[in-house]
Amino acid sequence: MYWSGGTEIITLGRVNLVYTEAVIDLKHIPECRALAVNDQSLIVGSALTLSELYDSRVFPLLGETGSGVADRTSRNKITLGGNICSQFIYKEAVLPLLLTDSDLVIAGPSGARRIPIGQIFNGTLRLGSGEFLVQSVTDSQYLTMPHFSIKKRKVAAIDYPVVTTAAIRTNSGIRLAFSGLCAFPFRSAALERLLNESKLPVAERVGLAASQLPAPILSDMKASAAYREIVWKNVLIDILTTLGE
């Protein structure tokens, strides 16, 4: 089992939901700790912590979205790769990478490969046997685009989301990605087409939005599906108002 921040292995291991005979710590692989701009791309190592990403300010949307995970001290340990490869369903740090069509560098027994995130992340990161996430590679043009990131929780400041939303405004329209709304994080082309349909009033676009979801809205102890939908639609109105109108 690969180890990055290790927080999930420790906490799930404590209650016997994870078992491993050995771990391989990725933090000492220099490429996994990279943070650099090369050829108009931002390279972010998978073993960088969410706090390091927030403090660096190099990719504000990634830093801000990641800052909603757990609490500050825990984020000093939780890494980008660990969050994206988490067993939990939220994986909120993946949202900015989906929005920016980032590439991922994956390494494994047969070497390293670079692959667009849309081809390897479908609800979860589809890693092959023995593979691990090394880096994300993001076109620098996205780093300064207007963005929006908000995590709605049930009550407490530290909690899993009712819904987390990240969005950016590009030249071709607003892109949106969600966590906590369905049972996996996602970005939906059909939903983006609808929400960018400027001939329709915002309220009408948002009213139709649920019809374009890739899966049923989650209903659990954090929020019923009906409540989640209301919260989500209010967030959509905020985003379309802030970024689009």
Binding site: G6, I10, G13, R14, D25, S51, T73, S74
Partner: protein, 152 residues
């Protein structure tokens, strides 16, 4: 496995089991019981120490990961301003959470001496006080950041 810890400014070679938590090694091997076991799940922050100057929940870190790192527990702080500030502001009641808060705030005042209210709140949310003495704790933080702690 043998690891080298720079613990409270002193270098130690120590045998640990690979899955041992830093929290347990601090308490059981070194007798440094200032780092408290609370939730053991990364939620409460009462086991917070600093690693290379950054606050870290020692229940979320293997001792093996701390090899070669500079670890400071509340016992190693000496006369830090934040300790006096806790006295001045009555920032504790039962005291169980106090070492964790102190280590977190000590790191905050070191890393962000000009921390704004949002940063203070963000960092303090990492620790739980079951006596709910949060306002007094916040006042202690502010007094340290503003350099208003009385001499010890």
């Amino acid at each position: 496995m043998r690891i080298e810890l720079l613990l409270n400014g002193e270098k130690h070679l120590v045998e640990v089991q690979p899955p041992e938590l830093l929290l347990d090694v601090l308490r059981e091997t070194f007798g440094l019981t200032g780092a408290k076991p609370g939730c053991r799940n990364g939620d409460c922050g009462t086991c917070t120490v600093t690693v290379n100057g950054w606050p870290m929940k020692s229940c979320l870190m293997l001792a093996a990961e701390a090899s070669g790192q500079a670890v400071v527990t509340v016992e190693g702080l000496g006369d830090a301003d934040i300790q006096q500030a806790f006295v001045d502001k009555f920032a504790f009641q039962c005291g169980y959470c106090t070492p964790g808060f102190i280590m977190n705030i000590h790191a905050l005042s070191s890393k962000h001496p000009q921390a704004d209210e949002a940063t203070i709140r963000d960092w303090l949310q990492s620790n739980i006080c079951r006596c709910t003495g949060y306002e007094e704790i916040r006042q202690a933080v502010v007094s340290v950041l503003e350099g208003k702690v009385k001499g010890m």
